[in-house]
Amino acid sequence: MAMTEQRVSYTLDSSLETIDNAEEKATRVATELGFPDDEIMQISMAVREGAVNAVLHGNAYAPDKKVTLVFERSADDLIITIRDQGRGMDLSKIPNPLAPENLLKTSGRGIFLMRSFMDVVEIRPTDSGTELKLIKHVHGPTAGGKEASQ
């Protein structure tokens, strides 16, 4: 996909392949938009973690449920939306992974990593599942609405 359009949307299965696929697409889009290498890694990792949440915790691998992945380019931001069709999550029940009593837990770091790597992370319930919005501000020559070169 070339990110010359302002918005690109994918509908993906609830599978492990979707997680790798989403990460690869994010890497490609971030590269095309001219993000520096460290931010490309941050964006792709945040999208991977979001896809993991959607496939595992949202849709629970259900074959009849889909994951929607949307990349949008505004003047100053890359906006990535991941929607699932699951039961949603209660953010208040996600413990702080940096608390000493949680450091040795084997899960619960995905949302923390997304928040560490992206400028904005929003999670909200929808009529049919959960919507995750990840925003990274565009800096440098591609900022201000200029399209990235292919």
């Binding site: 492990l16 973690e49 940096l98 450091l103 837990k105 084997t106 899960s107 770091r109 995905g110 990593l113």
Partner: protein, 114 residues
């Protein structure tokens, strides 16, 4: 690139050379099975050499924690060796750098076991 592991003995310590990605799915499973197999054979001094691991996600981080606690619970020690910058940064932001014993050269890692 999926994950690959190879292990070798150095002065009673098992060095597990890992390469590729430790992520949800195959990579995490390979790491889990490798550590469990070593422990089941009585190897309780384990070093995970992560020099060629270029990517770890939250599941992979969880698997490292699991390997660490499983080894400790069986009376052993598991240490990390040769972190790449990406993996090092991840352990820093998750505060796990304070949990793991991280070494940057193999000889001192081997020597550090009691």
């Amino acid at each position: 690139m999926s994950m690959k592991v190879g292990s070798r003995q150095v002065d009673g310590v098992v060095i597990v050379d890992c390469s590729g990605r430790i992520t949800l799915g195959e990579g995490s499973v390979i790491l889990r099975d490798t550590v469990r197999d070593l422990l089941s054979k009585g190897n309780k001094k384990i070093v995970l050499n992560l020099q060629d691991v270029n990517y770890i996600d939250s599941s992979g981080i969880g698997e490292l924690v699991s390997a660490f606690t499983t080894t400790k619970n069986q009376g052993g020690e598991l240490k990390l060796l040769n972190l790449t910058k990406k993996v090092n940064d991840l352990l820093q932001i998750t505060k796990l750098y304070t949990v793991f014993d991280v070494k940057d050269d193999e000889a001192s890692a081997v020597k550090s076991f009691k």
